[in-house]
């Protein structure tokens, strides 16, 4: 496929739309903006894969393919290579997607070269709570849809909302908004749309991929319950294109649910009509932000929009819209079935329940663990993760993806809560934990953070549009910055349009803080 100028205007015309409606979005999304060949390779350059080999996988893959990443096609136009930020193999990276085939492991370049067989080890999964909530299907074998069958037609939306309200469940995608309050804010109109946000863009987290691939029915059941609670007749399931297996699994689960009568008209003899459509993303981190996600679903550029209006008032095509993260929805069947109190007793007051945490490849026992909120991070790192593999020393620990933050070894006693992490300038985010070894150069890690920022800033607001680029230039120069950098970080955090630009300076500052003397002069 060539660059968007050659096809996007014409495609728009075929739908009776102005050329601009094609070109604008097509140049925005990485899947569309960068020409790709018959063989289309995506290489992950996100934190865990970076931390695995200090970023050396990228030149290695470029070498074996004979093409530079993000730079068009190779000489005969048959192969393209694009960097992506996270394929969800953080526990075993570095990772590539060769078409839809994952190639994962230290020998990723050899796999891509065809010298060894492509590998994609399954996600190690474990419940560390003793009474799993979101992993109920995956580790405890509990079938999905049972709650739905019991509820639909027998209970009221208010009843569902009140149980979820009593549970204290908050959004697990990073923003942490109370779920029942969001549902109530939509106002109960039948035009309401509920969107399951499977655009798990946070590098370091693969919990949503796990749920969508291994227990898609539970995610869908959660979405159905959310739709019911909101009075919505329509659910949408957005799955990022970097997760081709999750996309296939979700589509199949929707087909199955329709066949089993969980979706459709007058579900299970009730007066509830509900259908769910699965939509693929197109390659953008910011497009996981709810307003950007809605812009993308409307066919536009996946840029954040100012709120208000909040999506619950005016979302997809102006309709009241609720956006819930996949992990959030996966908790809903358990809560509805066991009651809000049972969930609220888990975790800590104010931050109730359980959370999936994802440990990166540098850990001795990487994988996805369900834990109760409030457990010490050190416990996760040492007891669950077994510390770093081969006895390596921890440099810093990234928590919650690029918008989360970094902890030093001595900070690890912090409890895994939003409030606790905030004390270190970090955030829970989607609770990916990426271990960065002591041997990595701190400036390389800083540059890595800014590379992510520059690659994924949507450009909708100036602080982030300019700041993400200038931060990268500064980090690349290696020269400790002056006052204007400090002012720029301040403008980014105070004035950016969405959490992406607002959080980045915090993440950068927390990294500098965690490295202490090793990044002196970069405080900003």
């Amino acid at each position: 496929m060539e660059g968007p100028e050659s096809w996007a205007p014409e495609v728009a015309g075929r739908f009776g739309l102005p050329a601009a409606a094609g070109l604008g979005p097509a140049t925005f999304y990485a899947d569309l903006a960068i020409p790709h060949g018959g063989r289309r390779v995506r290489v992950c350059t996100a934190t865990a894969c970076f931390a695995a080999q200090a970023g050396r996988q990228l030149p290695a893959v470029q070498d074996v393919l004979g093409v530079m990443a993000d730079d068009g096609l190779d000489r005969d136009g048959s192969v393209s290579l694009r960097t992506v930020r996270c394929l969800g193999y953080c526990y075993a990276g570095p990772a590539c997607l060769d078409g839809a085939t994952p190639c994962v492991g230290p020998d990723v370049a050899d796999q891509v070269a065809g010298r060894v067989r492509p590998q994609a080890p399954p996600i190690p999964v474990s419940d560390a709570t003793g009474d799993t909530v979101v992993l109920a299907g995956i580790v405890a074998g509990e079938a999905a849809w049972r709650t739905w069958v019991e509820i639909v037609g027998r209970r009221s939306p208010e009843w569902v909302r009140s149980r979820v309200g009593a549970s204290g469940l908050r959004g697990r995608g990073g923003a942490g908004f109370p779920v029942a309050a969001k549902w109530a804010a939509a106002g109960g109109s039948p035009d309401t749309v509920v969107i399951a946000n499977g655009d798990e863009g946070d590098p370091g987290s693969y919990a949503d991929r796990l749920l969508m691939e291994l227990d898609p029915a539970r995610v869908l059941e959660g979405l159905a319950l959310a739709c019911f609670a909101c009075g919505a007749r329509r659910g949408l399931m957005l799955v990022r294109s970097e997760y081709p297996r999750a996309l296939a699994a979700m589509r199949q689960a929707v087909e199955q649910a329709r066949a089993d009568g969980h979706l459709g008209r007058r579900v299970h003899g009730s007066d509830v009509d509900l259908d769910v459509e699965v939509v693929a993303g197109a390659g953008s981190y910011v497009a996981g932000e709810e307003t950007a996600l809605i812009a993308g679903l409307e066919g536009g550029r996946g840029c954040a929009r100012a709120r208000p209006p909040y999506p619950t008032d005016q979302g997809l095509w102006g309709a009241p819209t609720v956006v819930n993260n996949v992990e959030t929805l996966a908790a809903v069947p358990w809560i509805v079935s066991r009651g809000g109190g049972a969930y609220a007793r888990r975790g800590v007051p104010g931050e109730t329940g359980t959370k999936l945490v994802c440990l990166s490849e540098r850990f001795a026992r990487p994988g996805c663990y369900e834990v109760e909120l409030g457990v010490p991070v050190r416990w996760i790192v040492t007891e669950l993760g077994g510390g770093l593999r081969e006895g390596a020393e921890l440099g810093v620990l990234q928590v919650g993806g690029p918008l989360g933050g970094f902890l030093a070894e001595e900070d690890l006693d912090v409890p895994l809560t939003e409030a606790g992490l905030a004390g270190y300038g970090a955030a829970l985010g989607h609770a990916g934990l990426v271990a960065v070894e002591q041997r990595l150069e701190p400036l390389d890690v800083l540059r890595h953070v800014w590379e992510f920022a520059a690659a994924e800033s949507c450009g909708a607001c100036s602080p982030c549009r300019v700041g993400s680029r200038r931060g990268l230039e500064q980090a690349r120069s290696g020269v400790p910055p002056g006052d204007s950098y400090t002012r720029m970080l301040n403008v980014m955090s105070e004035a950016s349009l969405c959490a992406f630009g607002r959080r980045l300076p915090q993440a950068v500052r927390s990294l500098v803080r965690a490295y202490g003397d090793r990044l002196r002069g970069w405080c900003g």
Binding site: A19, A33, C303, C461, S462, L497
Partner: protein, 889 residues
Amino acid sequence: MRVTVEGAVVDLPEEASVLLALRAAGVDLPTLCHDERLTPVGSCRACLVRLDGRVVAACVTPAVDGAQVSVEEEDLRRLRHDAVEVIVSALPPRALEGDGELARVCRDLGIGPEAAQGGAGRGVDHSHPFVHLDRDLCIACGRCVRMCAEVQGTFALTLVGRGSETVVAPGTGGPWADSDCVACGGCVDSCPTGALTEPGLPIGTHLATFTRTRTTCGYCGVGCALDVLTREGEVAAVRPAADGPVNRGHACVKGRFAHGFLRSPERITQPLLRRRSGLEPVSWDEALAHIARGLRAAVTEAGPDAVAAITSARATNEENYLIQKFMRVVIGTNNVDNCSRLCHSPSAAGLTAAFGLSGGTDAFEDVERADCLLVVGANPIEAHPVVGARLLQRVLHGTRLVVIDPRAVGLAGYADVHLRPRPGTNVALFNGLAHVLLTHGLVDEEFLRQRASGLPEATAVLAGYPPDRVASITGVPAEDLVAAARLYGMAERPAIVYGLGVTEHLHGTDGVRTLANLAILRGAVGAGHGFGVNPLRGQNNVQGASDMGALPDLLPGYGRITDRVARGRAERVWGTRLPDHDGLRIPRMFAAARSGALRVLWIIGEDVCATDPDTNRVVEALESCPLVISQELFLSETARHADVVLPAASWLEKDGTFVNFDRRFQRVRPALAPPGQARTDFAIVHAVAAAYGAGLGCPTPAEALAECGRVAPVFAGISHQRLDREGAIPWPCPDPEHPGEARLYLDGFATPDGLARLAARPYLPPGESPDDDYPLILITGRRWAHYNSGNMTRRSGTIELAPSDHIDLHPADAARHAVHDGDLVLVESRHGQATLPARITEEVAPGQLFCTFHFPSSRANALTSEHADTVTSCPEYKVTAVRLRGAQG
């Protein structure tokens, strides 16, 4: 809602933003991504204030009742400074030159060029004649994109790329010149940084060094207020006035950019007199003496009715007033007419018959409030772009739309129902719509009882137009007809907007009247619910030229020449007896010339050889007339056939007023002096009168309008002084205290009995119908980049946007005639032939062709016929039977 800004309490409407609160409190802060006309997006993040303790971007934050807004705290000042500094840091130093918005903001904040360290080398796009892009100056604020979408409605632009790479681009991806851009200039006007500029005002320009002249556009009849920027006797740029009463800061390619003709080397700058060798330059004295001699000879030998004048709908009110006064008072004839004869004379006749006054019934801002628009025989997107854009925005925001037009152009693509009648079948179609209103009970019984007359007669005629029969006459499917009637009939505030597709027919006046029937049946005129019937005027002052009495049967203010009272009033003001019989209409003037009865034909600014139908016969008339005077900017076809050519001033060189399509008087002010010896039409008429030994009084345009107010009570309250103060005043305006009546007939119709008059008019076939010899129907009209005969637009940069003429035909007809896109085709009618390149498009229906007369060399009007409206003599431009003679070349 009440908000406290820095201690000052301001009252705000609901849903106001914090920025509005700041503005209300007189606080100014940088708003680089903000334009009041556009949806705020909060991109630049410079308008930072504290709202109840939170730092917010004021433009996208709703104000809340009781909120406290702080602006002046030191940390906020610093944050706003730093936010702009961050933006500037990515730009090259030239971004801070001149006095564009960003440069001004930086000066205010003390940000100097040293802060501008960027310049990514992203390049420029100078492919377009009017819009230049410098990508390095783009701050991705999207104002241009939103202007193009939310004001212009063309959707030609988009932001492309993401993150720091984000930049504006035309949506088609290639050069700007090849894009969907229609050069309204909105993006240039809104751009805060100079990323988008026009050639006359490059980056670094200091606007303060220009002279700024507020005037009214001289192209179409929308009446856009423009600010003309001049320096050293040259127009640098024309910018739409943000406070323009009609255009509100918007304009189109013509008003905004098509001014290059002013300095065309082809401008006539001295009088020309026909000698044996042809037209030769002479002095004004010589030319005027020649004219005076000719006038005297004609009047002496053949009487005053041997003299006729065609005035100009492009000229000012005052000029038109003066010319008709000269003809009536000095010569003693009513032989004065203007080109509304060729466009909207059926509107004048039809609207007067139906409602009492010769003009649209409602103000444009009311039309915009309609919940259903019926747009008939008009393509405002191209011909009245500012109106078209505004109507489109209403439709995009949910107003229902019915379009009646044989062609699928402009608004038709957005219509709920698009009816495509066969050309010439309007009356049947309108009667059919009225039939459905009646049979479906969608009429306003109360209104019909109290405020209308003629219902029984109309009902009897309308009974003969059931949908099936109408379908067979018009080709419009019966169900579409019913759907359209129901949309109009069930709307709470419907409005009718129409154009020359209604009037330029053999039964154009019947068309206007049967269209007006719909508003009367529905009670949607003069009643506060529904916005009447509104003609879109093709020329800047076609309303005014008629208002001023440049008509053979009507005095200024539409008093009939045959009406003793009206005539008496004029006679008292002018101090002389007036001829009491109607003068000649334009087509009759030509006939009189051909027959030898007409001795002098004075043509002011009309290229009748290009714009009037049946060109060959027009030329014959000019050649038969002993003295033809042409007042012109250029040596037009008409001027070439004249005996005396007088160099005239253009609209940018004149003082006076125009009346736009919704009856608003607005001022016209000279931005430049006329070139060489050219004079305003006002001065020329005075000079001719003087040479003839007569005085006309009213030495200035202001005095002319004042005198007109004494002749015509409907204009009595309007004066230059008042317009200078108030901007625009609609007529009727009977006294200086009266605000003018934007919305007519709320207290009764202006008909003799005060009732709206329903018309009972049967459908009659057009003058020409397709037959075996001439199987196709030609429609003529206008395209977006050009205007009328093209005399001005072809000599401005617009020619680069649309360099050539073409004739549109449907793919099926193209296949039948083996014509390919771009082939030159010979088109023949019973009256003449024309050769044009073909453009194959489904915009036209099978069996129909479309072309313009923007390029007189194509001779489109050699094809059109002398058939004309039976009431007003308006030519049947919209229906000519033609045939194609295969492909050539």
